[in-house]
């Protein structure tokens, strides 16, 4: 049992930190940056993606001996798309406002490189339990970056934290202004660039291949 636990811990650490899907493998930021203007949308997107990653890993890994290798991409996409449809319907039913703000980006979880990448690289070669944990690990790794980007964008761009104003009025009276660029597209690129720089400079961070 002890062995089992350390085995799962290993998978988790790898997904969340050492081989973080966004910062290390450069995957999955495609549909993500657009939802980081606010913490609340980023959180919902993170949860949705983590669940889809975990369950697609579980399902694809359970089916791995049955899937013919030449049509595996289609099968994987079908599994993922079905999970995304379920997620989208749940969001529309219970979190309608946020699902409107997320607009097409919930649907784009289908083409999120992390999900398909993990299905290809991990779920096809490992047992269902490991794949489920791996999906959660990579989902959390992605969520971590997403929440960090959203934190800076919402704080600097509109002075808020989960929609609550946190910068006191007297700071504005002294001449502080919200940085409009943070709520626009360039802000997201800058923040993620700086975060990757930070991660690579910390101990254990791996510096990237040369351009």
């Amino acid at each position: 049992m002890q062995n089992d636990l350390s085995h799962y811990k290993e998978i988790l650490v790898k997904g969340i930190w050492r081989e973080n899907p966004v910062a290390y493998q450069v995957l999955g930021i495609c549909s993500a940056l657009a939802v980081t203007v606010k913490m609340s949308t980023a959180l919902v997107m993170s949860i949705a993606l983590t669940l889809v990653a975990a369950f697609s890993g579980l399902i694809i890994s359970s089916l791995r001996h049955l899937i013919p290798s030449n049509i595996r991409i289609i099968v994987e996409l079908t599994v993922i798309a079905s999970l995304v449809i379920v997620t989208d319907q749940i969001l529309q039913a219970y979190l309608y406002d946020i699902s409107k703000q997320l607009s097409i980006f919930v649907g784009l979880i289908i083409t999120n490189c992390i999900i398909l990448g993990r299905a290809e690289a991990f779920a096809l070669a490992n047992n269902p339990a490991d794949s489920f944990v791996d999906g959660i690990a990579n989902g959390l790794g992605y969520s971590m970056i997403l929440m960090a980007v959203a934190f800076f964008r919402e704080l600097l761009g509109s002075g808020q934290f989960f929609g609550i104003s946190v910068i006191p009025q007297f700071v504005y009276d002294m001449g502080f202004q919200d940085m409009g660029i943070m709520v626009l597209a360039p802000g997201a690129f800058f923040i993620i660039g700086l975060l990757v720089w930070l991660k690579n400079s910390l101990p254990g961070g791996i510096s990237h291949e040369k351009k």
Binding site: I73, I104, L108
Partner: protein, 202 residues
């Protein structure tokens, strides 16, 4: 006509699918090492987008949209939740066809694009354009123009990025920022530049 031109210019510059909506970034980073492959992939993306967007429009408005099945006697039917799975299947099929054509007529380009050609199928820009087309209630002609415009904007962005990366290849970038982080900063600056176009009205 003016509306269509305006839609085209808008989707190339102001609402650039890559720099304003962050779609298709994975291949944007991975394939922008040389200008030739960036151009090749850009052309493939333009083609796939211009074809998939109207095909998906026809399928959506003929079969999936609420009330679309009235002609078959099911006016109450709303299959729009199936749009994700349908769109991705259409896109995968068209990409497969493009792959075979390129392999047949330009093996060199085929080899240099490598794994990124099949990955067009899961390029968020392609699926995103089809989903935007539904969300923004485009007409059939608008969906063609929007597809072509988004593709052109994507190609413009990736070719510019390849050109910039060629120029900064020997630049002395701080360790740790080198690579992915640096590309993100460049992309941010490019996004700022593209935003300058937003004052233009046609």
């Amino acid at each position: 006509m003016g509306d269509l031109l305006s839609l085209f210019v808008n989707s190339v510059f102001i609402g650039n699918i890559l720099l304003a909506y962050f779609l298709g970034i994975c291949s944007f980073i991975a394939v922008s090492k040389t200008i030739e492959t960036a151009t090749g992939l850009g052309l493939a993306v333009i083609f796939v987008l211009t074809v998939t967007s109207p095909v998906n429009w026809l399928i959506y408005h003929g079969l999936l949209a609420p009330g679309a099945l009235a002609w078959a006697g099911f006016p109450e039917m709303d299959l729009s939740f199936l749009k994700y799975i349908t769109f991705i299947a259409v896109i995968a099929a068209i990409v497969q066809a493009v792959e075979m054509v390129i392999d047949r007529y330009s093996p060199l380009l085929y080899a240099s694009l490598g794994v990124f050609l099949p990955l067009i199928a899961v390029n968020c820009a392609i699926l995103g354009t089809s989903l935007f087309m539904v969300e923004r209630n485009h007409t059939f002609v608008e969906s063609v123009v929007f597809g072509a415009g988004s593709g052109t904007g994507w190609m413009l962005a990736i070719v510019s990025m390849a050109a910039i990366r060629k120029k900064v290849r020997y630049a002395d970038v701080p360790a740790g920022l080198d690579g992915f982080g640096f590309i993100m900063i460049i992309a941010g600056l490019m996004a700022m530049t593209f935003m300058m176009f937003s004052g233009i009205t046609l």
